[in-house]
């Protein structure tokens, strides 16, 4: 999908020719250490980031050639954090996800309400429908915002750490949900910090380091000790002795501070 994308923020080159491909129906994890450009790459793929170089395509079509409304119908973007500026009612907040499907003055109708209710049910938040966003807990809010992103019934979901603020049970609920949607044909690109969850749920992983695609492949191929060492400065390994994969970090590797980038 994204090919050789480069992005400068101010004078700093954040992405230097990063690439990421997600096949239809794949659950792709975007991983990498802090500051490696994960969020920037995700924003670039959503068409929100001015690129210095590189292209982003959906089904072979350049997103720059697509109308913003058309892109919005196909792609859903869920940023990190939970920015909601007014204490909206949950149902109305999730209904904002239907905006791409409302043209002109058309108001929400039956199918829209059905999609909103379905999205809330899917994230386990149907009981919150009458609540006000400002009165929700962090975890409830994160799930409601995910429901907003899913309410547009997107072909592609781009989510930036959607489970970072959730407890374990709700992490599993949300990731199970995204995986189920991928089985039904949705494509997901999700930024992860938790490598265990990434290894467990993703079909493929892209590992970013300093704005470049450092490794790409199945979790088994990407989360090898050499990559953990080179990308994260950590001695660790991908294990699966409990029946599910998990990443163990054993110790930090101290390195001489790197010189300035050439």
């Amino acid at each position: 999908m994204a090919e050789k994308v480069s992005v400068d923020l101010g004078a700093r080159a954040v992405l230097r020719g990063a690439s990421l491909t997600a096949a239809t129906g794949n659950f792709v994890g975007l991983i990498g250490p802090n500051g490696s450009g994960k969020t920037t790459l995700l924003r670039a793929m959503a068409g929100l980031q001015r690129r210095v170089a590189g292209t982003v395509r959906i089904d072979g079509q350049l997103i720059d050639d697509m109308a913003r409304a058309e892109l919005a119908r196909r792609l859903s973007f869920l940023p990190q954090g939970s920015e909601v500026h007014w204490p909206l009612r949950v149902e109305r907040l999730v209904a904002l996800g239907r905006i791409p499907h409302l043209d002109g003055w058309r108001r929400l109708s039956g199918p829209d309400h059905e999609a909103v209710a379905e999205a809330l049910r899917a994230v386990g938040a149907a009981h919150l429908v009458e609540r006000t966003v400002s009165a929700l807990s962090t975890g409830e809010r994160a799930r409601v915002l995910l429901a907003r992103a899913l309410a547009s019934e997107p072909a592609i979901l781009l989510a930036d750490e959607p489970v970072a603020s959730l407890d374990l049970s709700h992490q599993l609920l949300v990731l199970d949900l995204i995986r189920d949607l991928c089985v039904q044909g949705m494509t997901a690109v999700v930024v992860f910090h938790d490598l265990t969850m990434a290894a467990r749920y993703c079909d493929r992983l892209t590992l970013l380091v300093e704005g470049r695609s450092f490794a790409e492949g199945t979790p088994d191929e990407v989360l090898v000790p050499a990559n953990l060492r080179d990308a994260y400065d950590v001695e660790g390994a991908l294990r699966s002795d409990l029946g599910v994969p998990h990443v163990v970090s054993l110790r930090r590797i101290d390195r001489a501070p790197a010189g300035p980038p050439q």
């Binding site: 924003r43 959503a46 068409g47 929100l48 913003r68 409304a69 892109l71 919005a72 119908r73 792609l75 859903s76 973007f77 869920l78 940023p79 920015e83 909601v84 500026h85 007014w86 204490p87 909206l88 009612r89 149902e91 109305r92 907040l93 209904a95 904002l96 996800g97 905006i99 791409p100 409302l102 108001r107 929400l108 109708s109 039956g110 309400h113 059905e114 909103v116 209710a117 429908v129 009458e130 006000t132 400002s134 915002l145 907003r148 547009s152």
Partner: protein
């Protein structure tokens, strides 16, 4: 099928509730409109005078009603509607309940334009010089704000540019006062800035209405984008909102309508701040649903304040802007304390 009916119920309820709110505000507006026609220095037998006016009798009472009170009431409603809608628009765009119509410098600059016209005595030689200068000031302010903040301005830069324009317009207004040729000229400027609707005629409506209408058209239809902006700029864009166009519509719409309002009435504070704030909980805090009720509520508030300037027996007459500020500021404080819990 039953589940569909079940799910669509809350939305219909919201729409009906907005309907009731709008109906109630229209009712209030009509009552205040009639009150504004009845109340004044000269007591009028309203129905009888209205009959005289409609049948074309040129009695003094009919003249007072037709040439003084009607334009004044209509102008009060128009200006109030403009301030209320623009306040709601700015609060929605900037996602800040403290935003008001003048936050980007439009009011202060329109005021400055009018003050310059007063200072050079242009308003005596050419009666429309004052509103014309005011509108020029408002449009220059918007241009300046745009230039200062750049084409792809973030909301933050926009607010900072507005602060700068506001400060500069304020400084030039003070300069005009400082260099005023006579104490009388200074007094005239000060009184004009206090805001008033006294002695306005249908000519003022004719000047202000076209620009207010253009502004209103620009503001209308941005509701959905304002709702999307509740989730931040990135999400709004990802939902298909063209932020550059929406921002331009909101800023230009505010400049046109508020510029026109300030040009004929002087600065009338707190209406654009208090009214959206007061009505927001009644529309589920949705910025897109807030604009029309705010326009109606603003119209009602300015009408009520203008009636107050006529019934409070002090000499010289109270100025409209003084009344809105004196009532508005403590009321706003009360609102902040009251609503603080739900705004968290």
């Amino acid at each position: 099928m039953s589940s569909i009916a079940l799910e669509s119920r809350p939305a219909r309820r919201a729409a009906t509730r907005d309907g009731w709110l709008i109906l109630a505000l229209v009712g209030l507006l009509l009552i205040l409109m009639v009150a504004s026609l009845i109340v004044g220095r000269v007591p009028l037998a309203f129905i009888a005078t209205l009959r005289e006016l409609l049948s074309g009798d040129e009695t003094t009472a009919a003249l007072i009603l037709g040439e003084i009170r009607f334009p004044r009431a209509i102008l009060a409603a128009l200006i109030g509607a403009t301030l209320g809608a623009a306040g709601a628009a700015m609060q929605g765009l900037l996602r800040n309940p403290l935003a008001e119509p003048g936050i980007l410098g439009v009011s202060a600059s329109a005021g400055l334009g009018a003050v310059i016209a007063l200072y050079f005595g242009l308003s005596q030689t050419f009666s429309f010089a004052l509103p014309a200068a005011g509108m020029t000031g408002a449009l220059l302010a918007v241009l300046l704000t745009y230039v200062l903040s750049g084409r792809d301005a973030s909301i933050f830069t926009l607010i900072l540019a507005g602060v700068a324009v506001n400060a500069f317009a304020g400084a030039l207004t003070s300069l005009a006062l400082n260099l005023a040729p006579s104490p009388y000229a200074a007094l005239e400027i000060v009184f004009w800035m206090l805001g008033s609707l006294a002695d306005r005629s249908f000519d003022h409506i004719r000047i202000a209405l076209p620009l207010m209408a253009v502004g209103g058209i620009l503001l209308a239809g941005t509701g959905r984008a304002l709702n999307a902006l509740s989730l931040g700029e990135d999400v709004a864009r990802s939902l298909g909102v063209n932020l550059r166009i929406v921002r331009a519509r909101l800023i230009l719409g505010t400049a046109f309508s508020v510029g026109a309002a300030v040009s004929v009435s002087g600065t009338i504070g707190f209406v654009g701040l208090v009214v959206p704030h007061l009505l927001r909980p009644l529309v589920g805090h949705e910025p897109g649903r807030l604009m029309l009720p705010s326009a109606l509520g603003g119209a009602a508030l300015v009408l009520a304040a203008d009636i107050a300037t006529r019934v409070v027996p002090v000499e010289p007459d109270l100025q409209l802007g003084v009344v809105t500020a004196i009532v508005g500021a403590p009321f706003f404080l009360y609102l902040i304390l009251h609503i603080r819990r739900s705004m968290r």
